[in-house]
């Protein structure tokens, strides 16, 4: 999921994953005063119950998001934005939810009473929808809503001629392997039959990407019309979750109130306000002044210090190492960047350790260089697939040698390609207001300059649009953003690297990677998945398409009078359980 956070704003797409080993070290999420003296901590199973308590009914909670929801369709490439997901967690219901431990998913028993794999040949999954489950307009939730999710997203590498080739989807791992979605029992039983095995079947129809109401889609033209236009451009008027949208004031706030037709336990809060603050530096003061109740900014040195100073006023915070990771990507639509030696040289010149020291390392000494694009250091199967290739080492001499050997001239002054064309200045983008990313880009430009390459750094206020179809010719040559992971590390990342994948913005293509990703996604054996994705990871390093920088700390701050709010460093974010938030009994 593209993570486009406030000042910072990352972008990320459904990606990574994690199946954290039970023995992974570290304490649970930091609480008041922060865990481990303010340093981030790896997440463990106790993260699922952190800050638990009995909540009172009523009250208004104001939660900060950092970008205006410009597109309301999370399944679309342009709408696949973390900030929007934080709102829609409570609107569009999914079969499974990602838990804060970043390892497990939890069945949404409000929506379905069971989800069972009834056969492996052909692979068949049966979902029993709660008979009481209805949309807020009274229309029952049925297999048709599942069918709509499938039909709009089934065009992909395994199914090039799907139902909706023109639906602008973010990713389709799994959906393109489904043979049929059918209903029975009055539409309340859904049977999904797969053409080819799909190990991560629990990632479908939920896990941050909830079901959208098919009956509304049917009123708004073809599949493509409803998907690309209606759901993307319309503020949701119908909810299948605990809350519904009462009002949306562009660039200011989205107000949610309990959905009176909700079929599960009613939410505790009487109002949940998502306040849009695009300047992260304004967030701590807004929290201190009680104008908001919780913030989830990208941590920066000053910001963390400001929040720490509020401990005496009852402000708690969690600084965790979850499934977010920062990275540089090249845009291979630029013909000069189609040159492997040039990409290798640029990434070799990048000193990742120095970048960390100048950015997140200033407030979090636990942040280390990340050497894998699929697994985090605390997860089983993590291996270093980057160091051996020399990428990210900051070795300028080695980088120059790569270029010289490849026939480049003017190395260190004004780089000229082997065909005699001068390498033009590249445009590098970062999310507006994100000072950490700005520093990362500035450092990248300095490294490139030593090779004779000019990199012009500029910001974008709409990362999704810069990366995707709204800017079909692409607005960047090099970009920095973050992927936000899910527990499904294979299927969740497939569209990032598969040829033509919805999240493969830079146009990367390697048949071997396609084949291995297909294998990994098909397998339900974690060991097979790990082996395959690590082979892919090594190939990605050799192809120097993307360079992982570090596992990103997440930072949640809130007043301790509120219970059940906790960090969830997956693509769903802390609002995964907003229906449980409320004032503690002692407040």
């Amino acid at each position: 999921m593209l993570r486009n956070r406030r000042t910072a704003g990352y972008a990320a797409v459904a990606a990574i994953s994690s199946v954290v080993i039970a023995a992974c070290g570290g304490s649970s999420s930091g609480g008041s005063g922060g865990g481990n003296g303010g340093s981030s901590t790896p997440i463990t199973a106790s993260a699922d119950s952190y800050n638990s308590g009995t909540a009172q009914s009523g009250g208004t909670f104001t939660y900060v998001i950092e970008a205006n929801p410009a597109n309301w369709n999370l399944d679309s490439a342009e709408g696949n934005n973390f900030n929007t997901a934080e709102i829609l967690n409570m609107i569009y219901p999914g079969v499974y939810n990602d838990l804060p431990d970043t390892t497990n998913v939890q069945l949404n028993t409000d929506l379905v009473t069971s989800a069972t794999e009834t056969s492996t040949n052909p692979q068949t999954v049966v979902y029993k929808i709660n008979p009481k489950a209805v949309w807020s307009d009274g229309v029952p939730i049925t297999y048709k809503d599942f069918q709509y999710a499938w039909e709009t997203q089934d065009t992909g590498p395994n199914n090039p001629h799907g139902h909706c080739p023109t639906c602008e989807i973010a990713g389709n791992a799994g959906y393109d392997q489904i043979k049929s979605v059918s209903g029975s029992d009055g539409g309340k039983t859904v049977t999904v039959v797969f053409k080819t095995p799909f190990g991560d079947w629990k990632s479908l129809f939920g896990a941050g990407y909830g079901l959208m109401p098919e009956h509304l889609a049917a009123q708004h033209g073809s599949l493509a019309d409803s998907f690309n236009n209606y759901f993307s451009k319309t503020v949701p008027t119908v909810s299948g979750g605990p809350f519904e949208i009462q009002s949306f004031k562009s660039n200011q706030a989205v107000t949610l109130v309990p959905n009176p037709k909700y079929y599960g336990a009613a939410p505790k809060l009487s109002k949940l306000i998502f306040r849009i603050i695009t300047d992260a530096s304004a967030e701590p003061t807004a929290l201190q002044n009680h104008e908001v109740d919780a913030i989830y900014p990208q941590p920066e040195l000053d910001l963390v210090d400001q929040i720490k100073a509020l401990a005496s006023q009852g402000v708690k915070y969690q600084l965790d190492l979850g499934l977010d990771w920062e990275h540089f990507d090249f845009n291979l639509h630029n013909k000069f960047l189609q040159s492997l030696p040039l990409r290798q040289a640029l990434f070799t010149a990048v000193d990742r350790q120095a970048i960390i020291a100048r950015t997140v390392g200033q407030f979090d000494p636990n942040v280390k260089v990340l050497n894998n694009r699929f697994l985090m250091p605390d997860q089983a199967g993590y291996q270093d697939d980057v160091t051996s290739t020399g990428l990210g080492s900051g070795d300028i001499a080695a980088a120059k040698e790569i270029l010289t050997k490849a026939g480049y001239k003017g190395v260190g002054t004004k780089l000229v390609a082997p065909n005699g064309q001068t390498v033009p200045a590249f445009t590098m983008k970062y999310t507006v207001g994100n000072t950490i990313r700005q520093t990362e880009c500035d450092l990248f430009a300095q490294y490139a300059k030593q090779l004779g390459v000019t990199v012009n750094v500029s910001s974008t206020d709409d990362l999704g649009a810069s990366l995707t179809h709204a800017d079909p010719q692409h607005d960047y040559d090099i970009i920095v953003f973050a992927w936000v992971g899910t527990p499904f590390f294979a299927s969740g990342s497939a569209s990032n690297y598969n040829t033509g994948g919805g999240n493969n913005f830079g146009g990367y293509s390697n048949p071997m990677v396609d084949k291995l990703m297909k294998q990994a996604v098909a397998s339900s054996d974690r060991n097979v998945q790990v082996a395959d994705v690590n082979k892919v990871d090594l190939q990605l390093s050799k192809d120097a398409y993307t360079l992982p920088l570090y596992q990103k700390p997440t930072f949640l701050a809130y007043y301790d009078k509120w219970v059940n709010i906790r960090d969830n460093a997956t693509n769903q974010g802390p609002t995964y359980n907003a229906y449980q938030w409320g004032l503690g009994q002692s407040s």
Binding site: N251, Q252, T255, I277, D279, A282, N289, V292, H333, D462
Partner: protein
């Protein structure tokens, strides 16, 4: 007076027309709403380019495009296409209302403060009071708007803590919880940004008013008024201040453009969604007609205030209308 007002109004109309053409020329020259099509990859299909160019009227020559735009506004109330998903006319007037609250409140406070401080400084020239007020004036004059805004935010939060309840808000032009949109809610959001903007304007105006008052107080007719035995209050208010205010009004009217400029910064720090936010977002998105709308409205306001200044000038000094 009526003839004078009509004359000034008629003069303002061609000024506005010329300014619309100038801003259109500038925007048409430096902004291209279809630039996003031409990144660094393969050029888009000609059909796509033609469609986008037609959408933004770029398939028309400059003068017909200008005519299309200006008649659209005047005749049909249409402000041109925007890629931000809103009706420009509706959006800009909504934003103008937000910014107007801030600008008008700041101008009134700044003007009242400037007159009081200017008069006191002039009357007590070279006294400790004068030096103190002058120091304060120069201090606020030299403070960057964004920094003053941040300082005031901090001060507001500390005062809230001292009071034990929330008097000042620091984010947005209104709240969204209970009491949202009420007078007290809007007022609590308005105070700090208004003070920020007012202090910056007040600083220069008070210095100007001090100089103006000193000039008047040293004039022969004031000495004559005093020699006639008029009460000091009458001399100061009816004869000195009224005369000193004439150039002050001109300065205030001309400063409206600068205040709008400062409002952009103030709105950014306090996360207001007024004209400033509208302009910045529109420039970032290369939304040509939205930028044009902002410039047109801002230009109209500047011309309007200049017209008001001329009329007030004539009212305060009857000799002027006979020029």
């Amino acid at each position: 007076m009526f003839a004078y007002a009509v004359k000034r109004l008629l003069l303002a109309i061609p000024t506005l027309i010329v300014s619309t053409f100038v801003i259109f020329l500038i925007c048409a020259s430096f902004m291209n709403p279809t630039s996003f099509l031409f990144g660094h990859g393969q050029p888009p299909p000609p059909r796509v380019v033609a469609f986008e160019r037609h959408k933004y009227w770029l398939d028309q020559a400059l003068l017909p495009r200008y005519w299309h735009w200006i008649t659209g506004i005047v005749v049909h109330g249409r402000w041109g296409p925007s890629d931000q998903g809103f009706n420009i006319g509706h959006e800009i007037f909504s934003r103008l209302w937000v910014t107007s609250r801030l600008v008008i409140a700041a101008m009134v406070i700044a003007a009242v403060l400037a007159v009081i401080v200017g008069v006191i400084s002039a009357v007590k020239q070279y006294s400790i009071t004068d030096y103190t007020l002058s120091f304060a004036g120069f201090l606020f004059l030299s403070l960057p708007a964004f920094w003053l805004a941040i300082l005031l935010k901090e001060a507001g939060i500390h005062l809230n803590t001292s009071f034990g309840h929330q008097v000042f808000d620091t984010i947005g032009e209104q709240g969204f919880g209970s009491g949202a949109g009420s007078f007290s809610d809007i007022l609590s959001h308005l105070i700090l940004p208004t003070i920020t903007l007012a202090l910056i304007s007040f600083a220069s105006w008070s210095r100007f008013n001090r100089g103006s008052m000193l000039e008047v107080l040293n004039s022969d007719y004031i000495r004559l008024a005093r020699a006639k035995g008029l009460r000091n209050r009458t001399v100061m208010v009816r004869h000195a201040l009224r005369t000193a205010l004439i150039p002050m009004i001109t300065v205030m009217a001309l400063d409206i453009a600068a205040i709008f400029g400062s409002a952009v910064v103030t709105e950014t720090v306090y996360q207001w969604h007024g004209m400033g936010d509208f302009l910045l977002t529109s420039i970032q998105k290369q939304d040509q007609f939205a930028v044009l709308a902002w410039l047109l409205v801002a230009g109209f306001i500047v011309i309007l205030f200049n017209l008001l200044a001329d009329l007030l000038y004539a009212w305060l000094d009857p000799r002027i209308r006979y020029d």
